[in-house]
């Protein structure tokens, strides 16, 4: 299978054209502030208002390389960078004729063509950007490391269009691998066929359909038996928020308090979506559900969601983290830790799972909804362990208004301005509370 590479991403809407990236590049590459030496070129605003960029795209079918008569340019199979060999270059400029991006250019002051080399994987421009307009994307690692691994679920699972729970469990079990046993209490995940129909199984590893109320304790017992017979397996629960926060809570809480060696993943779609979109303990304020309707007396749910991942962190079990499928690198890093931790103690991952069917948004918008949950701070991505306390893994320092998220989701369509303001206040308070927790961790020291 082919290889994927890390890349620079430019967010034009966040760029104010300050040019700090060009200065940083010129310094890194030629020890000067002269922008002529920069290999990234921010172009001033045009009449239409946008800031434009000229930068090497490190193409997969690089015409500059094809056009080079001296063999000075080549695509590096390890890094993906188009390498330029100064000793071979004859300065004929034919590479510039092959580039439609002005990614390789000649500057008289420099005296030869120059192009971006991604600073060997640590780009100076990204670090210099004050507006997070440049991002170094390393998600290619996920494909390189996991694309060839076996998918532990069968084809043809019957999840709804746009369901990210299916995406999530397939990613998760690729990494967990075949030496595992899965508990799946009632909810969407067994409902889509993972536990099978008519005596056929939907998974390639042992999977059992626990009760809503006993998932964590039953899984801990199964793990204990595997340990007893000398088999090292990852015992993993793929549960919904109902099976975790409401009916399932006493067993999850007990397992966390005992620090049983299991990996418990809560796939939080904010309610009982599989059985007709009833409200759960983690359904946010204002949400329409079938049990918190919108009518003359009610305007959606009038109580707040409980902050389940924080509650789990308060149990002091070995590892607790939140995650979003729009930030898979973040999730993969947490899942790697959780798998390791679950050999000896309890790891709890709380993954937010917007539901197109139950929340009423188009099925093609799931990842965008996930992304906006994070960008507005509606959810925060963090991790916790008893030794280091709580820390943000993807801090959003300049969040967008929560209204930008709410307007994407049909279950909030009825909200009044006061309700939106209330939710914004709740979000701000939640982030402030989490920030206090991170400060407590920092003041405690290592």
């Amino acid at each position: 299978m082919g290889k994927c590479f890390s890349t620079l991403q430019f967010h034009a809407s966040r760029c104010d054209g300050c040019g700090d990236c060009m200065t940083a590049c010129a310094q890194a590459k030629a020890d000067t502030d002269d922008p002529a030496y920069a290999r990234i070129r921010i172009l001033p605003k045009t009449e239409s208002g946008g800031v434009e960029l000229a930068l090497c795209r490190q193409c997969a079918d690089p015409v500059c390389v094809m056009n080079c008569p001296s063999g000075a340019l080549s695509k590096n199979g390890d890094s993906g960078v188009i390498d330029w060999a100064e000793g071979k270059c004859v300065n004929c400029l034919l590479c510039t004729a092959g580039c439609a991006y002005a990614g390789i250019v000649y500057e008289e002051a420099v005296g030869h063509v120059t192009k971006c080399d991604l600073c060997g994987g640590d780009p100076a421009c990204v670090k210099a950007c004050p507006n997070e307009a440049l991002e170094y994307r390393t998600a290619a690692r996920i494909f390189n490391d996991y694309a060839d691994k076996e998918d532990m679920f069968c084809r043809g699972l019957a999840a709804c269009h746009g369901c990210n729970s299916e995406l999530l469990i397939r990613h998760t079990m690729r990494m967990v691998g075949p030496d595992s046993v899965v508990a799946a209490p009632p909810g969407c995940i067994p409902g889509m066929g993972t536990v099978g129909y008519n005596g056929q199984t939907g998974a390639k590893v042992p999977i059992f359909h626990s009760l809503l109320t006993n998932t964590a304790t039953m899984l801990a017992g199964v793990k204990m038996q595997y340990n007893r017979v000398g088999r090292n397996v990852t015992a993993i629960a793929l549960a919904g928020d109902g099976g975790t926060s409401d009916a399932g809570f006493q067993s999850v809480s007990g397992a966390a308090e005992r620090n049983d060696p299991i990996l418990f993943i809560c796939v939080d779609n904010e309610g009982y979506m599989n059985t007709g979109m009833q409200s759960s303990g983690v359904t946010p304020y204002g949400s329409w559900t079938s049990t918190t309707p919108v009518g003359g007396r009610m305007q959606g749910k009038h109580t707040e969601a409980k902050n389940l991942p924080v509650i789990m962190a308060m149990h002091n079990c070995s590892y607790v983290a939140t995650a979003s499928t729009a930030f898979l690198e973040d999730y993969y890093a947490k899942l790697e830790k959780a798998i390791e931790v679950a050999k000896t103690g309890m790891a709890y991952l709380h993954v937010y799972a917007p539901c197109p069917t139950g929340w009423r948004f188009p099925s093609g918008m799931t990842t965008q909804v996930c992304r906006m949950q994070v960008r507005t701070n509606f959810i925060a991505l963090w991790e916790y362990d008893p030794g280091n306390g709580l820390r943000f893994t993807h801090p959003v320092n300049r969040p967008e208004p929560v209204a930008e998220y709410l307007k994407l989701v049909g279950k909030y369509r009825h909200l009044s301005e006061e309700q939106v303001a209330h939710i914004q206040h709740t979000v701000d308070a939640k982030i402030a509370y989490l920030q206090q927790l991170t400060q407590m961790a920092a003041s405690r020291g290592p």
Binding site: A12, R41, L43, P44, T46, E47, S48, G50, E52, L53, A54, V63, M66, N67, P69, S70, G71, G87, K88, V90, N91, C92, L93, L94, T96, A97, G98, C99, A100, Y101, A102, V105, Y106, E107, E108
Partner: protein
Amino acid sequence: MHSKYIIVGSSHAALEAATAIRLIDAEGALTLLTRDAHLPYSPTILPYLVSGRARPDKVVLRGQNYFRDNAIAYVPGAAAVSLDPALESLRLESGETWRYDRLLIATGAAPALPPVRGLDDVPFHVLRSMDDAVDLRQAIGQARSAIVLGAGLIGMHAAENMAKAGVAVSVVELQPHVLSGYFEPRASAIIERSFARNGVRLVLGQSLASVERRGEGCLATLADGKTIAADLLLVCTGVKPNIGFLDGSGLEVDAGILVDDWMRTSLPNIWAAGDVAQARGFWGGKVVNGILPNAVEQGRIAGLGMAGDAGVKPFPGAVPLNTYSFFGQQAISVGRGRGHAGAGCQIEIEESGDEAVYRRIVLEDGRLAGIATINDFVDAGIMWQLILRRTDLSPVKAAFIADPRRVGRQLMSQIWR
């Protein structure tokens, strides 16, 4: 011998075709037959081999490892002498016969020799192969004076190399200016002044009437009767496609092998690409456009077609393009220097510059038709795209004329976003 794919040639068009075939068909037998004795190299690199800036062992475009890893048979020293389309076979100089399912002719071009009386009887050099370059480099080392016949790219490159090596050089050119295929007189004059300053004698607007042998060198007589004596004669009066071996094959040829927009020739299962092919010109007609980027693009199209890729896009048409360095200066030309005569479109030409810097922009109905600069870098790739896409520049015309580099980059960045 039989191979599913046979490519005749080993330069850019041939190599890109091979790469393209292997993208689609990883296993079908693929053979490169080339007259040359060396591993693949670019004719474009030859002037740099003459100057010593590049070395023969460092300019290999694909090594044996590449051919082994991609299961490509590379057969050097294999000159094709005839083609039999009915039997789908090629005969080589060695007498060997190769049968193909799909054939690409990418044999490039060879020096075209001018009708100069006595040329057959004097020793002279050409510059089209690596062996030519090695010979020329050696000859320059022993010469004190030289005549370069033809002020095209190869001739001017070689004249510069010779001047830098301390040889007294005379360049004889029939046209009134150097590089007249790419540049207008005012631009050529900047280049001419630079050569004159560096001691190169330019004899322009003059043809060579005859040459005769004088010891190891020659004595050249110009049309006006003047004579020039030199130790070394280099003939660079253009090239002609290598199509001699196709005589009697029935393949349709004009100036080169006639191809359609998918590089298919008039006969089934035969493609042609690069300097040997005569393909759509961007402004109409069919042209031989002997430039490297053209060979790359055509080779890729031919290769994808040969491997049966359904997604192959047609050739958009040849646009002249040239990047040229001389005495540390840069000249760039994309598209054409004059407007389209008599087409009823509005032509605007903006020419600016001074003794050392030059810029000429040709717009047709508000769209870029050509741009040429000297010591004023523009991104040739972006200008080429603006021409091919027929991008309407009217909304930014004044800004583009003032700063084509910045505005061109902005436009392309917007298009890609």
